[in-house]
């Protein structure tokens, strides 16, 4: 199965988070994860600028709270034992009745069928309760989107470069950041003469050989 990616570029219209990432965010899978803090912050900024998505997230959260509040309690072991005992004893009593009266036989069969139906309904309730309330924090039994991305045997997952944006760094420290997009990658490319136009400037503009620059003279020997 192709792992669902939470790379931003896999979103529907480029520059948008994909549905899997939004679902993971709704499920709280980005919470409490320092390695995903930058991704979570970026996603929250994007959500803040998209009111429809924000409203949908709130509606989904309200639905989840309602589901959790109205889910029936799981029967206790004692209740299960009592129900089973009752069923077995009634089933035994039905088999022990004299079969000569057709009416009585029909009535006995109806008892067994009814009890069987009740037992089946109880079993369904128990199964649904166990499925949806298996964990207070993860009501859904399907794997989370991030389970596909993060290998279980990697206790310290490393962020990818596109997940980290370095906003400020000293020039001497850039070598200590093997991951992350720096403000400047590689050599600085300068504007050409046709690339820039000055206006309302009191600074002297010097047109160098290949590149113009603004230059405030400090000493007399400067141009």
């Amino acid at each position: 199965m192709t792992p669902p990616s939470h790379d931003w570029s896999h979103g529907a219209a480029g520059g948008e988070p994909g549905p899997e990432l939004l679902a993971a965010y709704l499920d709280g899978e980005l919470e409490g994860r320092d390695d995903l803090a930058a991704l979570r912050a970026r996603l929250e900024d994007w959500i803040a600028c998209h009111p429809e998505v924000r409203d949908e997230i709130q509606r989904q959260r309200r639905l989840r709270r309602l589901w959790e509040q109205t889910a029936p309690e799981e029967p206790t072991a004692a209740q299960w034992r009592a129900a089973l005992s009752s069923i077995l004893s009634l089933a035994s009593a039905g088999r022990a009745r004299a079969p000569e009266a057709p009416f009585a036989e029909t009535k006995g069969k109806a008892y067994v069928q009814t009890l069987g139906l009740v037992a089946a309904c109880l079993a369904c309730v128990v199964l649904l309760s166990a499925t949806f309330l298996s964990s207070p924090t993860q009501p859904w039994s399907v794997p989370s989107a991030l389970d596909f991305y993060l290998p279980e045997d990697d206790p310290f997952p490393v962020a990818r470069s596109q997940e980290v944006e370095v906003l400020q760094v000293a020039g001497a420290d850039t070598g200590s950041l093997p991951i992350g997009r720096l403000p400047v990658q590689g050599e600085l490319e300068l504007v050409g003469h046709d690339d820039v136009a000055f206006s309302e400037s009191n600074a002297r503009v010097i047109f160098g050989v290949n590149s113009p620059m603004a230059w405030e003279r400090l000493r007399d020997n400067e141009p």
């Binding site: 020039g171 850039t174 590149s211």
Partner: protein
């Protein structure tokens, strides 16, 4: 989970573009450079900057990259960039990419008047300021903006 995915798929596909949000911002990159007349060290990232400046003022021999900073600004928003020695520069994006695909900026170096210019994206404009540190290092700024229209 499946229902949630379906809900969000439809929402992402059909939502209209919002007005003032990260898509409207301009990322301004400021590089702080210190140049001196001593030594002979040129940071390899500053090779072209050093070449251009030395053609005009050959006495500046060494160029060190002190700091690089990114700020994302909406048009009209002013941002203050810390430099060295508690000096600051302020930058205002006057407007994003226009018809000629140029962004207009106003840069105010320390102790100087505002410099207003329009520039293409992805390339740096050197600004040689008149500020010098106590070690006689000349403060040079290099400013770049992104993005422009494709």
């Amino acid at each position: 989970m499946l229902l949630v995915l379906l809900a969000f798929s439809g929402l992402v596909a059909t939502r209209p573009a919002p007005a003032r949000c990260p898509e409207d911002k301009v990322k301004v990159t400021l590089v702080v450079i210190l140049a001196t007349e001593q030594g002979n060290f040129v940071d390899k990232r500053l090779r072209k900057v050093a070449e251009e400046i030395q053609k005009i003022h050959p006495s500046l021999k060494s160029f060190h990259l002190k700091k690089m900073t990114d700020h994302s600004l909406t048009p009209g928003e002013k941002s203050v960039f810390p430099l060295v020695d508690a000096q600051k520069a302020s930058i205002v994006v006057k407007h994003g990419a226009d018809k000629s695909n140029k962004v207009c900026l106003a840069v105010t170096p320390p102790g100087q008047d505002e410099i207003v210019y329009s520039t293409v994206c992805g390339k740096f404009l050197p600004i040689v300021t008149k500020y010098e540190t106590k070690n006689q290092e000349r403060l040079i700024l290099a400013v770049m903006v992104q993005p422009c229209k494709e």
